[in-house]
Amino acid sequence: MERSEDAAATETALIEQARSGDQLAWENLVRAHQEPVFRFAYLLLGDSAEAEDTAQETFLRAYRHLHKFDSARPLRPWLLSIAANLARNRRRSLGRYWAMLRRFYDTSPAAHDHSAEEHSLQHSEAQQLWAAIRRLDQTDQQVLYLRFFLEFSVEETAQVMGVAPGTVKSRLHRANGRLRTVIERDFPGIREGIET
C-alpha cells in the first residue's frame, strides 16, 4: 500500500493546484482516496449513510484546511485522521441517542432483541470479526481496522493515529488480546473457526 515516487509527485502537484483554488485537482484527489476514507468511516460507524456523510465532510474540511497540510507528506493518513475524528464525534452523538433509546427500552417490558442484530452480522468471517471488534474501545478498533481491514502499513497507521510506529505495534498487541477476550466471551463461533 506504499505509494510510488511518481504517485507521490503527482499527488503533491495536485495538492498544490488545489491549494490555489483548482477544484478539479481536488476532485481528482477525492476520487483517489474516497474509497479508503468511506470504508474506514463505515467500519467505525456501521452505517452506510453516516459513513458517506462523514467521508464527504472529511474532504470538504480537508479542502478548507489544505493550507495547513504539509504536501511533502502523504495525504491519505491526514484524511483518515480527520475522518476518524469526525466519526468519533458523530458516534458519540449517536451514542447519546442510542443510550436514550436504551434507557427507554430497558424500562419497557418488551425489551429489544439483541440476538437478531448479531445474527444478521454472522454472514461471513469478516463480519463476525467486525462485530467482535465493535465491542472494543475506539483506539483498539482503529488500529485493527487500519492494519487488517484497510491493510495499512505500521508506518501509515502510525501517521493516521498520530503516534510512533512502536506504539502501533504495542496497541495492536493489546487490541488483539482484548479481541480474544471478546471472542471467547461473546463470539465462540469465531474461535471454533480459528481452531478448525
Binding site: 476532485e27 476520487r31 467521508a55 470538504l60 485522521s81 480527520i82 451514542g95 488480546g177 471467547e184
Partner: protein, 272 residues
Amino acid sequence: MNSNPLTPGSASENWLELRLQQAAPAFPYPPTPDIAGNVRRQLERLPARPAHRAALRPAWLLALFLLAAAALFAIPGVRAAVLEFIQVGVVRIFLVEPTPTPTASAPTPQPQPTPISSLLNLAGETTLEEAIAQSTLPVRLPSYPPDLGPPDYVFLQDYGGDLLFLVWTDPEDPGQVLMSLQSFGPDATPVNKWYAQQMGEHPLEMTEVNGSPAVWTTGPYLLELKTGDLEMRRILDGHTLIWSEGEITYRLETHLTLEEALQTAHSLEDAR
C-alpha cells in the same frame, strides 16, 4: 466450555492474527458512493470559506496585551490600579487602569489558538460518563453548533467546590481547542482578570442568558483561577461568555460571535 483458551503468547494468538489478515480484507463493504461528485457540487455551492478564524485576529491585540501584562506584573502596586470589578456568579471581572507601555522594541507575536497540549496536564481528567456519575454539578451539554457533538475532553476538579471543564477540539486539527465550557459550583472562587484598556472601545458587553445577567468579553485576556493556595493563570485568545444560572456559574470560551455564543448557552441540556 473449551479447555484451550486463547491465551496471550499461545499459538492461538497467531491464529487470530492470521485470521484477521486473511478474513478482514474480504470484508463486504457497501459500494463506495460518488463522494468526489458530491464534494465538487458542495464546493461549487459554498462561498469561499475564510482561513482559520484565529488568523484573522489582528496581531497587535495580543502584542499590546502582552506588553501591558508584563508592565502590570512588573510595577509594584499595580493591583491598586483596579478601577472596579463586575461579578457574575463566582467570577469577578476586574477593569484595570492602563499603564504606560514601552512599545518601540517589542516583538509582535501572532495570536494562536489554544493547543490541547496546554490542557492535558490539567488534573481530574475523566470521561463524560464518569463526570455525570460523580459531579455535584449538573452536566449540561450544548446542542449548538449543531455539529459540535460531545466534548473531546472532560476534567472534573475540586477548586473548593467542583469545577467541570469540557473541551471540544477542532475536528480538522485535533491539537487545537475549538471551544470549552467551565461550570463552577457556588464554593469555587475563580477570578477572571481582564485588562480593558488594551481591547478597544467596547470590549465588555452586558447581555443575558435565560433572563440572568451575563457578560461577554473579547480576548485576548488573562484568566486567573484562585482558591486557597491554588492558583492558575492562562492567557486566552478567544472570547468568553460568563453567566450564572441558580448556583452554577458558566464560562464559555470560544471563537464564536456573541450571537452564536448566546445560542450555544441557550442550547445547554442536561446530559443525564
